[in-house]
Symmetry: C2
Subunit: 236 residues, 2 copies
DNA sequence: CCGGCACGTATACACGCGTATACCTGAAAG
DNA sequence: CTTTCAGGTATACGCGTGTATACGTGCCGG
């Protein structure tokens, strides 16, 4: 096998990453992966691992970066495209999610983004199983990387929420909180989506509704209570 | 040491559970715990494990049941007591969370329940670290048990939301969804609460707001969109 | 053409592991 | 008083592990 062919498809690095994907998803924690086990699955000598990675954490980081690189861009493009399509069709008035039309518009956009996300999930099942596991796993390095990744996704969403003015009454902290909540929940739902194929259609709808409810909820709240601890009971 | 004393405080079973708590929280996955490692930590012979548990899953279940038994009752009592106190003080009108006074009342109740929950979290840090880890871990048995536990907490909350009529416009499915969302999110937040002591006051507030926002959001949503896919855009 | 080097291999060692088997002890039941 | 048995111990075996050391091989810059 020539060097070029190796680089293109079967590089040892790629083989090891794929082996780790397969093994870590089915077995225990990432850090508990055996180098020999890994080498076996990859069809390589155990020691070859060290030619490519310094540690299991190192491999884990590569895995996360690879998935974020694949998902982040397209997800955002999809959201912006869907939002733009809705605006092009119905005009830019009443986009505030607290108006009836704003809610329906949001639902439309959600449908597209949720679909794209879940499609990606089923095509990267192992990655999501591992990601969710390691989000609270033993490897501090992977935990941190995954938090960062989720935070990035949330930043994207928050930016778009502000750009398209869905939550005009809220300051950016609230928008950020809402986005973070959505992202976290979508990641958790991805596990259900993988494990329970028969519930997928209803999960799709539940996810759409959840996003709308969260944005709506945070949006409405700041209207009703003061941003810092207000102890008066205006209605009672 | 007599048999009675053993049963009361230092029973081998208890020693093993505590050892598992300490080790599984710091190390890798629960299933990756070594029986020897465990025996060492508990000050017992490795084989003694089998006198009490059939498998690591078995031990894990014992752990979960123990925590649920400690938390579920008090948490619910606290919520009901706080809700009752608010009603006693301000009357039972305008409890709907979509009214201004309803929101403020909800915030008051949230403050108490969130505080109780987080107090329990800091007093059972190991348990929560393990629980969160195993929620997406390799042990199907523990995953299932943890899901069931969260679902039970959500059921409690949903029942109370209905009893106190905070979401009168919503059908029970929606109430259940909102409660589940809250519970899941509270569990995730517990990790932050443990790991970042300096953020605890702000996490307390964020959690209160999150609960209010979610209940409010789901409550408001059903008013704005039809329960099944409505494709019309009334406002646009 | 040749030296370095990236990638992969082979062998070996010491260690911790799960578990099987047998044994001890003290409480309680008859 | 004797039997039973749950709880705890001791020893031993075979295995998979991480890693250290040394070796092979084909690509590429000089």
């Amino acid at each position: 096998m020539t060097r070029l062919q190796q680089t293109l498809r079967n590089s040892g690095k790629e083989l090891l990453i794929n082996a780790a994907l397969k093994l870590a998803a089915k077995r225990r924690s990432f850090l508990a992966l055996g180098l020999r086990e890994l080498g076996r699955e990859a069809g390589l000598n155990p020691n070859t691992f060290y030619r490519h990675f310094k540690s299991l954490d190192d491999l884990g980081l590569a895995l996360i970066e690879r998935m974020v690189a694949q998902l982040r861009g397209p997800l955002r493009q999809q959201r912006i495209a869907a939002a733009q399509a809705v605006i092009d069709h119905y005009g830019a008035e009443n986009v505030n999610i607290r108006t009836r039309s704003g809610t329906v518009r949001a639902q439309r956009v959600n449908r597209e983004t949720v679909r794209l996300f879940f499609d990606f999930v089923v095509q990267n099942q192992y990655g999501f199983i591992i990601g969710l596991r390691e989000l609270h796993g033993a490897s501090a390095v992977m935990r941190e990387a995954l938090r960062k990744a989720m935070s990035d996704f949330a930043d994207d969403m928050a930016q778009d929420l502000e750009r398209f003015q869905l939550m005009p009454e809220c300051d950016s902290l609230r928008v950020q909180q809402a986005a973070m909540l959505v992202v976290r929940q979508m990641f958790m739902l991805s596990m259900d989506y993988i494990e329970q194929p028969e519930r997928r259609p209803s999960l799709q709808r539940e996810a759409e509704d959840m996003i709308t409810a969260i944005v709506l909820g945070y949006s409405a709240m700041d209207d009703q209570i003061a941003p810092e601890g207000d102890d008066s009971l205006p209605g009672g």
